[in-house]
Assembly symmetry: C2
Homo-oligomer: 122 residues x 2
Amino acid sequence: MSTMTQISDDPTAAPAFCPAYHHAIELIGRRWSGVIIRAMIHGATRFSDISAAIPGISDRLISERLKELEAEGVVVRTVVPSTPVRVDYALTEKGRALGDVVAAVAAWAETWCAPVAADRDA
Amino acid sequence: MSTMTQISDDPTAAPAFCPAYHHAIELIGRRWSGVIIRAMIHGATRFSDISAAIPGISDRLISERLKELEAEGVVVRTVVPSTPVRVDYALTEKGRALGDVVAAVAAWAETWCAPVAADRDA
DNA sequence: TCAAGCATGTTACAAATAGTAAGTATGAGT
DNA sequence: ACTCATACTTACTATTTGTAACATGCTTGA
């Protein structure tokens, strides 16, 4: 038996569990990670950009999440030796590829979670 | 000032923060929620289906996450008065609409997080 | 020279969330 | 009466997150 788990015995049904998906969704979905990635896709490159762009996030968590994303190869950290020293965070190709995921979530959110929509209810 | 935050002053740049997106990503990305939704899209309808499909999840968390998803209008809970009593969980239209998000994450995961890929490295 | 400030974190500790294991409820079967 | 099954709930522990204060290296102003 593989690492996949079947729910039904319908051969057209995809496996109900997939480790790569699990890893990906828990990475992107970990608290604050999704919003940090979105902020970076939309232009944030510095620690202070992220801090300013996201209400409620603490420095400690920005630091922690950026380290995780760096370890996963989603962002790269570059120290710019100016004064005061600056650090640039950039998305890798892997990180930029998350644009599709962010877009899908944003589209769903707009349709189903928008504050008030006149032409859609219940 | 609105609830959106701008990173740059480029008028074509989208806001770096959007509350609807934030809500959506934290809902879907909360621990186990993403895998539960995927399992349901792939056919899981019962508590025990989810339990069996997802390695490592505890009953307590299945229960908690399903309550949250129900409160968000993503799943509906139906009690079937058989013996022993059964409970059916189904995705709502809002929940089914998450199929696109799940597909986007799965596609990214396949490309960038697959266990080993011969034609892709570093 | 001394203090103050900025950018980017780190540390210490409290609060919230998640994990584990055992217990509950109802009715059927034996 | 006792056990089984499903679908939870409760009690307790471990891990993660939040908050606030401190550290570093360099600059500017008094």
